[in-house]
């Protein structure tokens, strides 16, 4: 049984696994756990991701994070949803378009996209 012999020899030559081989992988997994969900609500003029944004809200994963209306010059983060996607945000909810349609009445402003970014965020 020459083949079996060869297998045995191969087994013998295998070096024992070094205890520190897992270290880099373990470190990366820890960082994954530290990543938290940043939320971005974008209210776009239409359901099209290239339409102009009419409103936005950032929600950061920090205990004291409270987005609020500001009276100073507005610094718009993106002009449309697509720009946010290019910047790494992922859409987790698209606008609901199944609501009854009314060609006379007006209700909320824009179409709401909810996006997320999983990132390590300091406290």
């Amino acid at each position: 049984m020459g083949v079996g012999k060869k297998k045995q020899e191969k087994k013998k030559t295998r070096e024992p696994r070094k205890p520190d081989v897992k270290r880099p992988r373990k470190k990366r997994v820890q960082k994954e756990e530290e990543r938290k969900q940043r939320l971005l609500y974008l209210h776009a003029a239409t359901p099209n991701v290239f339409s102009t944004i009419l409103g936005y809200t950032f929600i950061e994963p920090r205990p004291d994070a409270r987005p609020e209306i500001t009276a100073t010059e507005q610094d718009w983060p993106y002009e449309n949803v697509h720009e946010a996607i290019v910047d790494g945000w992922q859409v987790v909810q698209f606008p609901h378009l199944q609501a009854p349609f009314d060609d006379a009445d007006l209700d909320v402003v824009g179409y709401e996209f909810i996006l997320q970014k999983m990132e390590i965020v300091g406290r």
């Binding site: 609500y41 209210h43 003029a45 239409t46 339409s51 102009t52 944004i53 009419l54 409103g55 936005y56 809200t57 950032f58 409270r66 987005p67 609020e68 209306i69 500001t70 009276a71 100073t72 507005q74 718009w76 060609d103 006379a104 009445d105 007006l106 209700d107 909320v108 402003v109 824009g110 709401e112």
Partner: protein, 267 residues
């Protein structure tokens, strides 16, 4: 109505802009020291008197009865307008939080221009003192306040960073909120409520019938200075086509209603 009142009536363009944007601001020439006198009395009030704020600070009537204020009220609500008994002192304390967007009351909206608010600020309001913020053009939206909870900054929003003595007349259904007060001062605002008692049979402002005869100007659009183009083209928060067409139709209905055609607004 006195000649002085007539001199303060709004023009066609001003009424058209109110119909579109849902607000109009004035800074009347008041007796020297009146604003500060009112503010000082408010500073030391120990509790909120609610509707009795005009009894606690009777000088507030001088604001309401000023010809510039009467001119706006007659122009938009007719000569028999009513100052309603409900009024409120909104004292935004130093360090107080922002207030979320909302429309007052429940979602029982009426397109007839038959009531609106007057917001009087007796002291200068700076950006850090918690100014009221409004969103022009949102007064025709039938939006439950709960559905506005995910908005923060909205394109075209206007913070009422104003000088002492300013009165902002705002459509009852205009979306509004307030910025946090990060200053060390109280921000005072007295809210008054006004109501129409009679439908118009004719325009009650300085109306020129020729004002509505302009053709559509596809070049100037909302920048044009005439009623037709202001009502048809102005888009204060840059909504898309469907909403813009609906808004334009509603504005024309409201304008016709104010001209004295109550049936212009569908029941």
């Amino acid at each position: 109505m006195t000649d002085l009142d007539r001199a303060h009536l709004l023009s066609d363009v001003e009424v058209a802009r109110f119909v579109v944007n849902g607000y109009h601001m004035i800074t009347p020439e008041l007796p020297e020291g009146l604003n500060e006198s009112i503010a000082t009395q408010l500073d030391v009030l120990e509790s909120n008197p609610g509707d009795a704020i005009t009894e606690a600070v009777p000088e507030l009537w001088q604001i309401l009865e000023h010809p510039a204020a009467r001119g706006v009220l007659v122009s938009l609500l007719g000569p028999d307008y009513e100052v309603q008994s409900h009024r409120h002192w909104h004292c935004k304390q130093a360090g107080s939080a922002f207030m979320q967007w909302h429309q007052d009351s429940v979602n029982n909206r009426d397109l007839r221009l038959n009531r609106f608010l007057g917001l009087y600020y007796p002291r200068d309001v700076t950006t850090d003192m918690g100014p009221t913020v409004i969103v022009p053009g949102t007064q025709y939206r039938n939006a439950p306040t709960d559905r506005m909870a995910t908005y923060t900054n909205i394109r075209g929003q206007v913070p009422l960073v104003v000088e002492a003595g300013t009165m902002a007349f705002t459509h009852y259904d205009l979306w509004h909120g307030a910025v946090a007060n990060r200053s060390d001062q109280k921000r005072h605002m007295i809210k008054f409520l006004f109501r129409r008692t009679e439908d118009n049979t004719e325009p009650t402002w300085n109306h020129d019938p020729a004002a509505v005869e302009e053709e559509r100007d596809w070049n100037l659009r909302g920048q044009a200075e005439d009623v037709t183009n202001i009502l048809g083209f102005t888009n204060p928060i840059m909504v898309a086509q469907s909403d813009h067409y609906k808004e334009s139709r509603i504005r024309r209905q409201v304008w016709q209603y104010l001209l004295g055609k109550p049936d212009a607004i569908p029941a």
